[in-house]
Subunit: 340 residues, 2 copies
């Protein structure tokens, strides 16, 4: 079985954005916040997936995608706590509908109703609603809900602890994933995403977070940002800062996905990062949708790069399935229930 740990619903039917547009218009006009309803039919959902994610799953030979709302649209900096909560619940409910329609193809990961400043009580409640109520297996945690101004405390700050307690209690991991940048310095998918990955890793490296939460698990997407390319730098910094070595510390709690869109990058990832810490992911349909003129294949068909590696069947199984089952025990349980 091939589990893709990183897919967003970037192709959601227009009804979702229409609801969001109404919400932001109401915000501007000062109208009272109303949750209302998102009008999308099951057929629209099917249409939105059949020629996109499902088609690509079939073509590329992958089985299950760990699926979450469009990351760039989370936009936690818009409005207030109620704005974020209403929008998040609609997005998560839609993911639940996808996973109910296609239980063999998608498992759900939720967005969180974060804001730049508020405490995380709403996030705790929404995680519980999604995991206990709708079978979600994880969440996406935004380390910069201000959208490129980096106003929240580092992920290692006690601000986040109530949420981590819930993650550990529910035994679900978080993918560290920012949303759109509203800072003109950062291109959302070109620099903000990658920077956030690198930033989170360095926060973990310099902290004792995993002493406080030995069972907390994070997936750092986009191949770990800049980290594998600068692995010597991080090993050296850990040493200079008198932190434990990376393999005995951060890498007990952190995994990187394979969203790196060329063969040399994947080669490097597998050369420096322990196989135990790599999860197959493609982020399709995502940041880079074109065909690489150098290969004739989609940039984001990351399975091709992995298939080109010299891995044993056991190693291949680990990357495509085994590690994901370990990081997402609720996925493992669901698959076992289905006899897989």
């Amino acid at each position: 079985m091939i589990i893709d740990c990183h897919g967003h619903y970037t192709t959601a039917p227009k009804g979702l954005q229409a609801w969001r547009d109404n919400q932001t218009a109401a915000l501007k006009s000062g109208a009272p916040a109303a949750k209302g309803t998102v009008t999308i039919s099951d057929d629209e959902i099917r249409d939105s997936l059949e020629n996109a994610q499902l088609k690509l799953q079939r073509e590329r030979g992958t089985d299950v995608t760990i699926f979450s709302p469009r990351a760039s649209a989370m936009a936690h900096h818009i409005g207030d706590a109620t704005t974020s909560l209403h929008w998040t619940q609609h997005c998560n409910d839609l993911i639940h509908r996808v996973c109910t329609l296609y239980p063999e193809n998608f498992v759900a990961v939720c967005q969180l109703p974060q804001t730049p400043k508020d405490p995380l009580a709403n996030c705790v409640a929404e995680l519980e609603r999604c995991v206990n109520g709708m079978g979600f297996i994880g969440c996406n945690l935004n380390p910069d809900p201000s959208g490129g101004y980096w106003g929240a405390p580092p992920l290692t700050d006690k601000y986040w602890y109530p949420f981590y307690e819930k993650m550990v209690e529910l035994d679900v991991p978080a993918m560290v994933h920012v949303s759109a940048s509203c800072n003109a310095n950062f291109h959302t998918t070109g620099s903000h995403y990658i920077n956030a990955d690198t930033t989170a890793f360095m926060q973990f490296l310099t902290s004792d977070l995993f002493k406080d939460f030995p069972k907390l698990r994070f997936v750092i997407p986009h191949g770990g940002g800049a980290v594998p390319y600068h692995w010597g730098r991080y090993r050296g910094l850990a040493d200079m800062l008198k932190q434990p070595s990376l393999d005995g510390h951060v890498m007990k709690n952190v995994w990187f996905d394979t969203c790196v869109y060329h063969q040399p990058g994947i080669d490097l990832l597998f050369e420096v990062i322990d196989l135990d810490n790599i999860l197959f992911g493609s982020e399709m349909v995502g940041a880079v949708r074109g065909i690489d003129p150098e290969t004739g294949h989609y940039f984001d068909d990351t399975k091709r790069y992995i298939d080109a590696l010299d891995l044993t069947p056991a190693q291949r199984h680990q990357i495509y399935e085994g590690n994901a089952r370990r990081v997402y025990p609720r996925l493992d349980a669901q698959l076992k229930e289905r006899g897989l």
Copy 2:
């Protein structure tokens, strides 16, 4: 000849920091700004280098270091335009003294008196003072003078144009280099530096800056941040954003150094980036000062990684000397004057 394009005076004698401490104390107390003098003897300068940069040059077999003030200490967010100007001029004058004492070992690159908000007139004047008055060959340009809050306009904004006009007029490149982070989210050398490199590259990719300034040249340090590792992502984004291909566009005006502290990272850099766009650099004595237990050698002895590559003598010459002479024509001219 082996030219190291990236060295900072991280070992400056205590008198420099003492001056800075006085300046910041005066700022706090509201005392009037005074430039005053930095008290450092020539012997103190010699001592600060003989057992550090000069020793490492000899041990590693490199010849000339392109040398600039300590990057993390630029701290453009402290005080106002006068604060930044006084501090910058002292730092640059000290670099000039180093290069006068050791003309065979160091050539000078200046810090700039940036601030988070002011126009760049002081920077234009300081660049002119350093280049025309003291033989400097380039500058370090900070894309985030706010120190981790990213409040300045992107490097492609017209805000920067008066400075670029002076760079082109003087025919000097800039290394894109942030300073210390005062945002708790970013570790200075672990994430802020690397993020800034990635950010600047993406700003260049999405703009027409080099149409306006075809002769403008930037060195992006630390191996180009995350860019080579995600080279497929950037090629794909250029395509999606309908920008020209990277080799026909950004890479006509941008170079990466080799400050990547392990062999697999250097291997990747040389695999994906054209040799024309790579400059040898080590950033010694810099961010990572220890010995890699995996190799028994200094992490930042980047010459070892390059020497391990399968390069022809012509290619080696290009990386160690030829490219630097092209990017820094004033270095080339100075070397030729010395008959080199």
